[in-house]
């Protein structure tokens, strides 16, 4: 899941979600970065509206989040 988290960090910091940036973040976190997964993720996210996907998640009480909060 670290690849996805990395993409979302970049989304938060308004940096481009490309192979270099993802690799940098993952490197910094001490991950063994697989280039193929980075590539695949970039490709997979190409047509995804991240904000929208996130909003849909937020619209639903996620497990503990709602309860504990």
């Amino acid at each position: 899941m670290e690849y996805v988290y990395a993409a979302l960090i970049l989304n938060e910091t308004d940096e481009e979600i490309n192979e270099d940036n993802l690799t940098d973040v993952l490197d910094a976190a001490g991950a063994d970065v697989e280039d193929s997964r980075v590539k695949a993720l970039v490709a997979a996210l190409e047509d995804v509206d991240i904000e929208e996907a996130v909003d849909q998640a937020a619209a639903v009480p996620a497990g503990g989040a709602g309860g504990a909060g």
């Binding site: 690849y3 996805v4 979302l8 998640a57 989040a65």
Partner: protein, 300 residues
């Protein structure tokens, strides 16, 4: 020996023509129908009995005759069915139907109507006076209720039964006072109708307690059996016209589940992975008490 056979002959000859015809009619009924049963008609006013007979028309035929004639007709019908003679006592009739015994029983039970019970009768089942406002003005009736065993008192200007009260157990005799109280309240604890005592069909004698079937139970069994077949079809991955769609759905759900679980970078689940990550971040944030540690959008 010859004297004996002579006596026998005489007895046969002694039977009047009308009796012989009636026995023949009864024999025909026994012959005609798939199921033949003995029903108790005790306590049913004759007009009501006529009405019931008309209602049965088409599904079943009811014949009433002297018990001796019923016994004779059954005896003559042969082994097996002759066993019905043990139920010929009191006011009974013979009923014939092409429905199977279970269906006949259900039909007769459904046609029963409630009726008041009289003093001196035996309670066919537990008699209960339900919790209610009797609507009866305060007066000696409270005492009568209490004497038969009901929890009764005066509330809001009328006599109330304050809780469901069992006033007689099954098999006990109804007292005059109880009969009065029940009559006053309009409670009809009896079910009146043709009471099936036993049925003979296809060589088997059926007792009423085995004829009482619970349709809901059968419906539940059908559902359970259908569910089990579905489970087997899907779990064994054997598609049928009823389950092919579900199997496809299951396979695709499995693939998505694996994809999300393993964070596989597939375009088909990329949005789901993003949602999952976001949900996780929120879930984790919910465990963080210190607002300083949280971005504004996740605070309190």
């Amino acid at each position: 020996m010859s004297a004996e056979s002579e006596a026998g002959d005489r007895r046969t000859e002694a039977i009047p023509e009308w009796k012989r015809e009636e026995v023949a009619d009864l024999a025909e009924l026994i012959e005609t129908y798939e199921s033949v049963g003995v029903v108790s008609i005790g306590g049913i006013p004759s007009r009501q009995l006529q009405a019931m007979r008309r209602e049965l028309h088409g599904d079943a035929e009811l014949r009433v005759a002297r018990n001796t004639l019923l016994v004779r007709a059954l005896d003559e019908a042969g082994e097996g069915i002759a066993d019905l003679t043990s139920e010929i006592e009191g006011q009974v009739g013979l009923i014939g139907t092409d429905e199977n015994p279970f269906g006949l029983y259900r039909q007769l039970e459904a046609s029963k109507t409630p009726a008041p019970i009289n003093a001196g009768e035996i309670a066919p089942n537990e008699i209960t006076i339900p919790e209610s406002d009797t609507g009866v003005d305060p007066g000696p009736f409270v005492g009568e209720l209490q004497q038969v065993g009901a929890a009764a008192r005066i509330m809001d200007g009328s006599i109330h039964v304050t809780e469901d009260s069992t006033v007689l157990e099954e098999g006990e005799e109804v007292s005059g006072q109880l009969a009065n109280v029940l009559g006053e309240l309009g409670i009809e604890p009896k079910e009146v109708g043709l009471d099936l005592k036993t049925v003979y069909a296809d060589g088997i004698l059926f007792e009423p307690d085995e004829l009482a079937i619970d349709v809901d139970e059968y419906r539940a069994d059908i559902e359970a059996a259908a569910a089990r077949a579905r489970n087997l079809s899907i779990n064994a991955a054997y598609p049928t016209d009823r389950t092919a769609g579900t199997l496809l759905g299951q396979a695709s759900t499995e693939a998505r589940s694996l994809g999300v679980h393993a964070a596989i970078e597939s375009p088909d689940i990329a949005d789901e992975l993003v949602s999952k990550a976001d949900a996780q971040v929120r879930a984790l944030a919910a465990h963080i008490d210190d607002e300083e540690a949280l971005p504004e959008e996740l605070r309190g």
